[in-house]
C-alpha cells in the first residue's frame, strides 16, 4: 500500500534546480533508499518529506494526507540527522524522551517508554549518561531511539552511517535492517554509498541532478541498469562500444571485439534504437581461463595489462584486440589458483547473457 506519494515535485534554491519533476510512491513498511552522488537532490527530497523544505510546485501526500502547510512538528515522520543532532545539554534519557513532552503520558509510563526504546537500540542502562560522553555509534543509536519512540509512520535517515568507522558501519547496516523488520515502519535512507543501499534496501531510487534515474529493487538495479550513468554509479562495469542492427523481442547487436549476437529485449532495460550503443559487462561475469582450462562459454584471447590483488579477490585488466579499453574482471582467489603476472597471454570466458545494452 502506498504510504508516501510525491507528484510533480520541483524545488529551486535561487538559480539551482534541486529537484526536477519528482513522481514517487513509497510503500508502507518498506526499506527505501535514495542513492546518488552529492548534490543530486536526495537530501533535499528527504527534508521535503520531513517538512523542512516545501516544494515550489507539486504535491506530497503522507498516509493520504496532503502535507502542504503542515510543519515538521505535525508530520508522522521522524528523522535521524546526519550529525545525529543529539541535544548536548540533556542526558541520554532526556534526549530519547524529548518528543514525549507533548504526549499525554504520566512519568512512569514515559520512563518505561524511554527504557524500552533504549533497549531496542542496545543501549539499556545508558539513560543517565551525559549525551556528550557517547561514542559515534552510541550517538547514532540514541538518535534512532529518539526518533522511533514516537512510533512514526516513516523514519527518515540522512546519511546515518557516514560518520562511522568501516567496521561499525557494516555492523550498523545489519542492525538497521533487523530493526526495520522488527518495528515494521517505513524507512527512507539517504546515502551516497551504493553498497550500503544494495545491502539494506527493498527498493532504491538512484538520483542524478535532481531527478530519479532509476527505481528498482537492488538486484534489478545491479543486473539491469537502465542507463550508462546508473550502471557506472552502482558497482563496476566494463563499457564496450557496439551497434544495434535490429530491434524487437530479440535485439541484434554487434559488440566491438566480441562479434555479433542476438539477445532478448530484457537485456536492454532502458530500451535501445538501431545504431550505436554502449554495452555493459560486469567484471564478475567474466573469468580468466587458466592454462588447459576449458569452458562451454565463449572465449576471447587477450593479454594481462594490470593485476590488483585484494586478498579474497584478484582484479585483472585484460587487453583484448578490437576493444579500446582493457576489460576488467574479478576472480575469486582459491587454493591452487595462481595469480597471473602482467604481460601474460590469457583467455577470457564470457557469456552473451551478461551483456547489458545501454541506450544513450
Amino acid at each position: 500500500m502506498t504510504l508516501i506519494s510525491l507528484a510533480g515535485v520541483n524545488k529551486h534554491f535561487g538559480d539551482y534546480h534541486a529537484l526536477r519533476d519528482i513522481d514517487l510512491e513509497i510503500r508502507e513498511g518498506e526499506f527505501f533508499s535514495l542513492l546518488g552522488p552529492s548534490g543530486c537532490g536526495k537530501t533535499t527530497l528527504l527534508r521535503l518529506i520531513a517538512g523542512f523544505e516545501a516544494p515550489d510546485i507539486g504535491t506530497l501526500h503522507i498516509d493520504g494526507r496532503d502535507m502542504a502547510g503542515v510543519g515538521p512538528n505535525l508530520r508522522p515522520t521522524n528523522m535521524v540527522f546526519q550529525s545525529y543532532a543529539i541535544f548536548p545539554h540533556l542526558t541520554v534519557a532526556e534526549n530519547v524522551g524529548f518528543g514525549l513532552r507533548r504526549a499525554q503520558m504520566d512519568k512512569p509510563d514515559r520512563a518505561r517508554a524511554v527504557d524500552e526504546a533504549l533497549e531496542m537500540v542496545g543501549l539499556a542502562g545508558y539513560g543517565i549518561r551525559a549525551a556528550n560522553a557517547l561514542s559515534g555509534g552510541q550517538r547514532q543509536r540514541v538518535a534512532l531511539a529518539r526518533a522511533l519512540i514516537l512510533k512514526p509512520k516513516v523514519l527518515l535517515l540522512d546519511e546515518p552511517l557516514s560518520a562511522l568507522d568501516k567496521k561499525i558501519r557494516e555492523q550498523m547496516q545489519v542492525e538497521l535492517m533487523k530493526l526495520q523488520r522488527e518495528v515494521g515502519i517505513t524507512f527512507i535512507l539517504v546515502t551516497h554509498d551504493q553498497e550500503e543501499a544494495l545491502v539494506m534496501s527493498d527498493r532504491i531510487a538512484v538520483m542524478f541532478e535532481g531527478g530519479i534515474g532509476q527505481l528498482n529493487d537492488p538486484e534489478t538495479l545491479y543486473r539491469r541498469p537502465a542507463s550508462k550513468r546508473v550502471a557506472g554509479f552502482i558497482g563496476m562495469m566494463n563499457f564496450l562500444n557496439g551497434r544495434v542492427t535490429a530491434t524487437g523481442p530479440e535485439i541484434a547487436v554487434e559488440v566491438a571485439g566480441l562479434g555479433r549476437y542476438r539477445v532478448p529485449a530484457e537485456q536492454a532495460p532502458g530500451g535501445v534504437e538501431e545504431g550505436p550503443v554502449t554495452i555493459g559487462i560486469r567484471p564478475e561475469t567474466l573469468s580468466l581461463l587458466f592454462e588447459g582450462e576449458r569452458t562451454d562459454r565463449m572465449e576471447v584471447a587477450g593479454r594481462v595489462d594490470e593485476v590488483v590483488y585484494y586478498g579474497d579477490m584478484t582484479y585483472y585488466d585484460v587487453a583484448v584486440a578490437g576493444i579500446d579499453k582493457p576489460l576488467t574482471l574479478s576472480m575469486k582467489n582459491r587454493i591452487g589458483r595462481p595469480v597471473l603476472d602482467v604481460g601474460s597471454p590469457t583467455r577470457v570466458a564470457w557469456d552473451e547473457r551478461s551483456l547489458v545494452l545501454l541506450g544513450r
Partner: protein, 267 residues
C-alpha cells in the same frame, strides 16, 4: 623561546602597571598621589561612603548599566541568531551598520546623538539618552560574544526539536536557549561592564544626574579628592575583575556544554 617569554611577561607588567598602583595609593595615608608611600589607612574608603553625590552617581550608573545590559543582550540575541541563519539580501551591509560602533570613535557617536536629541528633537538629556547610546555601542560587543554561542550550534538541533513535535518557539526555549545561556550571561556582564565604565558618551549626554565616570572626571580636577578617586577606582576595578571572571567561567561552561574546544577570548 625564553626571550619571547620574557618579553611577554614584561608586556604584562606594562599592561598591569597602572592598575597595580591603584590600591597602593588608595590605602596610602597621604593627600598627594606620589611616592614614597606614607603608611596605610582606610580613611579614603570611609570618605567614599559619606558622599551623597557619589552614591547618587553610583546608583545612576548601576541603573544605566543594568538597563543597557538587558537591552543590548536582547538586541544582540536577535542579531546573532539572525546572522547564524541563512543569508538574506543586504545581510552584510545591515550587519556592518550594526557592528559599526565597534570601530567608530565614541566622540562621533556622542556628538551625533547630542545633535539629534537636543537640536533636532529639542528633548532634554537624561539617563534615557545615555541608555540609548550605551545600548548602541554595547550591542556589537554582545553580538560578538553571542555569535560564538550561536554559530557553534548545529542547525540540525533545532530541526531535530521541530521533528520531534516542538514549535519554533518551544524549540528555542527547550534547545537553543539553554545552549546559548552562558553566552547570554557573558553578554549581560560585558555590556554591564562597558556601560559602567563608559565616559565620553555619558559626558556629552548626561543631564543633571552624572554617571560614575562623569563624577570621577569632576573629581580629577581637585587634587585634594584624588585619594578618594583612587579608593573608588580600586573598588571599581575589583568589581570589574569579578564580573569578568564570572563572564569567562560562563563562556567556558558554554563551550563545554556544547562539547566544543576552547578557542580563546571574548572577542
Amino acid at each position: 623561546m625564553t626571550g619571547l617569554r620574557a618579553y611577554a611577561i614584561a608586556y604584562l607588567v606594562f599592561l598591569y602597571a597602572p592598575i597595580a598602583l591603584l590600591p597602593l595609593f588608595a590605602f596610602n595615608d597621604a593627600d598627594i598621589i606620589a611616592f614614597p608611600l606614607s603608611g596605610a589607612t582606610t580613611r579614603w574608603f570611609a570618605e567614599l561612603t559619606q558622599s551623597a553625590s557619589l552614591l547618587n552617581a553610583a546608583r545612576n550608573s548601576l541603573i544605566i548599566a543594568a538597563t543597557t545590559a538587558v537591552l543590548s543582550t536582547v538586541l544582540g540575541v536577535c542579531a546573532a541568531r539572525a546572522a547564524s541563519m541563512a543569508d538574506w539580501p543586504l545581510k552584510r551591509p545591515m550587519m556592518g551598520l550594526i557592528m559599526l560602533p565597534l570601530v567608530l570613535p565614541e566622540i562621533i557617536v556622542a556628538v551625533s546623538l547630542l545633535v539629534l536629541v537636543v537640536q533636532v528633537f529639542g528633548l532634554g538629556l537624561s539617563n534615557t539618552t545615555i541608555i540609548a547610546a550605551h545600548t548602541l555601542i554595547c550591542m556589537p560587543f554582545s553580538i560578538a560574544v553571542l555569535n560564538g554561542a550561536f554559530q557553534n550550534l548545529d542547525p540540525a538541533l533545532e530541526e531535530a526539536a521541530l521533528d520531534l513535535g516542538e514549535t519554533r518557539l518551544s524549540a528555542f526555549r527547550l534547545v537553543i536557549l539553554p545552549l546559548v545561556m552562558p553566552g547570554i550571561v557573558s553578554s549581560l556582564l560585558i555590556a554591564f561592564t562597558i556601560s559602567l565604565d563608559e565616559f565620553i558618551i555619558a559626558f556629552f549626554l548626561s543631564g543633571a544626574n552624572p554617571t560614575m565616570p562623569v563624577y570621577i572626571w569632576g573629581l580629577l580636577r581637585f587634587p585634594g579628592q584624588l585619594p578618594v578617586v583612587m579608593a573608588l577606582g580600586t573598588i571599581l576595578v575589583a568589581l570589574s575583575i569579578v564580573l569578568l571572571i564570572i563572564a569567562e567561567i560562563m563562556r567556558r561552561r558554554g563551550l563545554k556544554r556544547a562539547g566544543l574546544k576552547d578557542r580563546g577570548g571574548f572577542l
